[in-house]
């Protein structure tokens, strides 16, 4: 069974929500904290609700709507989101008031919007969609598990399309606290939302095929990852030579980049490599941005200098492998191909 990506939507530190494509040249995002460039939400959300909603909800709704628009459907047959941190801003607001007001005189709005399934729930509300609705909250696997769940359900054959995506927001509190763990010494903190309409039928604007997804939790070594990638490709009837472009989650942190270096040199020697975290920053669901980028590269058949890390851009791009890890503990592989 083929699974097509019939539409994509992405809110990121770049103007991806408005332009729908990658920049030609890498913008100079030398900040340690990348903030999403938010689109005009009025086209999708009532203005009164815009004021009440936190950024992660709005980014998620926007990415969902953009992907549905491109796919040409109004109501998906399933909504699955991934978010590692959930609705951090509302969580922080409620927690702060609870502590400073000593548990008195609290109001419900921030609490209501703090649950991790708020984004998926709001999308269902806006679309009046009674279909399957789920939210994965597993750190650096949150996005990958939404894809795995989607693939399993599409294969069951009861539904023909699913809206799948991931979103995370960076707040002042989370940036402060994560910085204390020395996470942003070599890399910028990021945020964003990316959504995909996956379908068993090829849509008019299909951008790529989703061939497979696999996750590897706390591998013992880069050798184990390399062997796992070879096995993953074989399971999808793909050899290492069939891959035209590798996208890795390089973020400038030497300890983390060593894992990518090993895979690039030992599994895909001589293949061109692209990167994406200099554009979206590091966050647990950054692989959703990477997948969005991979799908746009396949659709446009163009690897811009803004993302090429080594090698020369291939003339034809049939298969792209995204290999990412978050914090060296959560490794994932996502294989996309030309329609």
């Amino acid at each position: 069974m083929n699974i097509y990506i019939n539409g994509t939507g992405c809110v990121s530190p770049l103007e991806t929500a408005v332009e729908g494509r990658l920049p030609l040249a890498a913008p100079s995002l030398d900040n340690v904290r990348l903030k999403a460039a938010e689109p005009d939400y009025k086209q999708w959300i009532d203005i009164k609700m815009i004021r009440r909603m936190s950024r992660v909800i709005k980014m998620g709704v926007a990415a969902a709507q953009l992907s549905l628009r491109e796919a040409g459907i109004r109501k998906p047959e399933g909504i699955i989101t991934g978010t590692a941190y959930g609705c951090l801003d509302d969580t922080g607001v409620f927690l702060t008031k609870m502590i400073t007001q000593q548990e008195e005189m609290l109001t419900p709005t921030a609490f209501i919007q703090s649950t991790h399934n708020t984004v998926a729930g709001q999308i269902a509300l806006l679309l009046e969609c009674h279909a399957y609705n789920n939210t994965f909250v597993h750190k650096g696997f949150s996005f990958e598990h939404t894809l795995i769940d989607s693939i399993m359900q599409l294969r069951e054959g009861k539904v023909s399309n699913i809206l799948a995506g991931a979103m995370d927001e960076l707040t002042n509190h989370s940036f402060n606290i994560l910085s204390r763990f020395n996470l942003f010494k070599h890399t910028a903190a990021g945020e964003g939302a990316a959504c995909f309409v996956l379908s068993t039928e090829k849509g008019p604007h299909a951008v790529a095929k989703l061939k497979g997804v696999s996750v590897l939790y706390k591998p013992a070594s880069a050798e184990e990852v390399a062997a796992d990638i070879v096995g993953f490709l074989a399971a999808h009837s793909c050899s290492q030579e069939d891959v035209d472009l590798v996208i890795t989650g390089r973020n400038g942190d030497p300890a983390g980049d060593a894992w990518y270096e090993h895979v690039e040199n030992n599994v895909f020697a001589n293949l061109p490599v692209a990167r994406f975290k200099h554009l979206c920053g590091e966050y647990p669901t950054a692989s959703a941005f990477g997948t969005w980028m991979a799908s746009r590269i396949i659709a446009s058949q163009e690897v811009t200098p803004a993302v090429l890390f080594k090698g020369t851009a291939p003339s034809e791009i049939k298969k792209v492998l995204l290999y990412n890890h978050h914090d060296t503990s959560h490794h994932s592989m996502i294989l996309l191909s030309k329609c």
């Binding site: 609290l106 609490f111 991790h116 708020t118 679309l127 009046e128 399957y132 789920n134 706390k218």
Partner: protein
């Protein structure tokens, strides 16, 4: 046998009415609900709202879980119940299988984050980092996976009060797709000030013991705990001698798409989840032996759920009860805890009582079972879990026709 069956081999529970499954069953048998004044949670609302706490401090739980006492209570509860579940399945060494742990929770390590945040708000360089390092929901699952030795598939789901029903559903799909041999699925949540105060702002906490499906009900009691079932696919079941409790034959997830926190008056999401789960199980309303209700005790939930049940079952509503009248509402753990009770009902012929029931709801034609009984003919049990965000999920557990 369809060749695609999912077998339930065992389960584990820790909650306010027992530290393990036999203790919970004893509490049902003796009609002893677990509501008390807070002993372990520290809150200014201590004397306003009864809660259903696990009757053990973190040091005691940590010793049982084999984890450090300073980590989140949510992880400690999870490890205790997951271990009981694994042992009850009688599968031996966990490292001999491709095992998945799919565990739900709603606020991760919030109990520790609350302590951290109080200091952090004074000065953003203060507060012990070890109290916030496991804030994420996924961290809780990983603490437990690591201590049990599980690596193949570790996932966390959070859809408010329906979280662990969705974890069980996803776990079943992992088995059917041969991504793992065995799945431990369910959920965990410890009481936190965050959730207590959150539910208080919604004005749905009862100041007395909650009265699900009673006409005088005014709200829910929060509880805490963890519950997991262990499932295997047919392929594994055929290879070995197993002693299954029952099968998971149906599951469905639908969205109410009505309001972020409230259920629709006709319970459309509830109805769709129940109807589709029964359709998948291949059973009709007449085949249903018992429904373990979501039954929180709020005005809104019980009316929506009851209305949806009447629409689906008409005048032939099977025995129903809300075990939350004993355990309180354990949020992200409730679907897991109640799945264990539901699976055990099939195995043992149990019908669980609904405590604190005395007044028939005027909108409904049926009322819950109020006494414990065993030895009943129980072929199919449905477990309902409905939550914020319109998330509605139902599971169906069935007796194997060949056993």
């Amino acid at each position: 046998m369809s060749g695609n069956d999912v077998w339930v081999l065992g389960g584990g529970v820790i909650c306010g009415i027992g530290n393990n499954v036999p203790e919970c069953i004893a509490s049902f048998r003796q009609m002893k609900p677990g509501m008390t004044t807070m002993q372990y949670l520290s809150s200014t609302h201590r004397d306003s709202f009864p809660v259903v706490e696990v009757k053990a401090d973190n040091a005691t739980l940590a010793a049982r879980a084999g984890l450090p006492a300073h980590i989140s209570r949510t992880a400690l509860l999870s490890a205790v119940a997951a271990k009981e579940a694994w042992n009850s399945a009688q599968l031996g060494n966990i490292r001999e299988y491709r095992v998945g742990l799919v565990s739900a929770n709603t606020v991760g390590g919030m109990d520790k984050t609350e302590d951290f945040f109080a200091e952090y708000l004074q000065d953003n360089q203060s507060g012990r980092l070890r109290n916030v390092v496991n804030h994420e929901c996924g961290s809780i699952t990983e603490l437990v996976a690591d201590t049990l030795g599980i690596r193949h598939h570790v996932s966390t789901i959070s859809t408010a009060c329906s979280s662990s029903a969705n974890a069980i559903m996803y776990g079943a799909r992992l088995l059917k797709n041969n991504l793992v041999d065995v799945v431990i699925a369910g959920g965990t949540d410890a009481l936190t000030r965050f959730t207590l105060n959150g539910f208080n702002t919604l004005m749905i906490l009862d100041q007395q013991a909650c009265r699900p499906f009673d006409d005088t009900r005014t709200g829910l009691n929060l509880g805490e705990g963890a519950g997991y079932i262990v499932m295997v696919s047919d392929a594994i079941a055929k290879k070995m001698e197993i002693h299954p409790w029952c099968k998971l034959t149906g599951y469905a997830n639908a969205n109410d798409a009505y309001h972020q926190t409230a259920s629709s008056p006709d319970g459309i999401g509830n109805y769709l989840a129940m109807q589709q789960a029964m359709e998948m199980a291949g059973i009709t309303p007449a085949d249903m032996s018992y429904i373990n209700l979501h039954g929180t005790g709020t005005l809104n939930n019980d009316l929506s759920e009851g209305t949806a049940i009447q629409r689906l079952f008409g005048n032939a509503v099977p025995p129903v009860s809300s075990t939350k009248s004993f355990t309180g509402h354990t949020l992200g753990a409730s679907g897991g805890i109640e799945a264990v009770f539901a699976a055990l009902a099939v195995k043992e012929g149990y019908l669980y009582p609904n405590a604190q029931f005395s007044h028939q709801m005027k909108e409904l034609t049926f009322s819950p079972v109020t006494t414990f009984s065993e030895g009943n003919v129980i072929n199919n049990v449905m477990s309902n879990s409905f939550g914020f965000g319109g998330n509605c999920s139902s599971l169906v557990f069935s007796k194997d026709v060949n056993t």
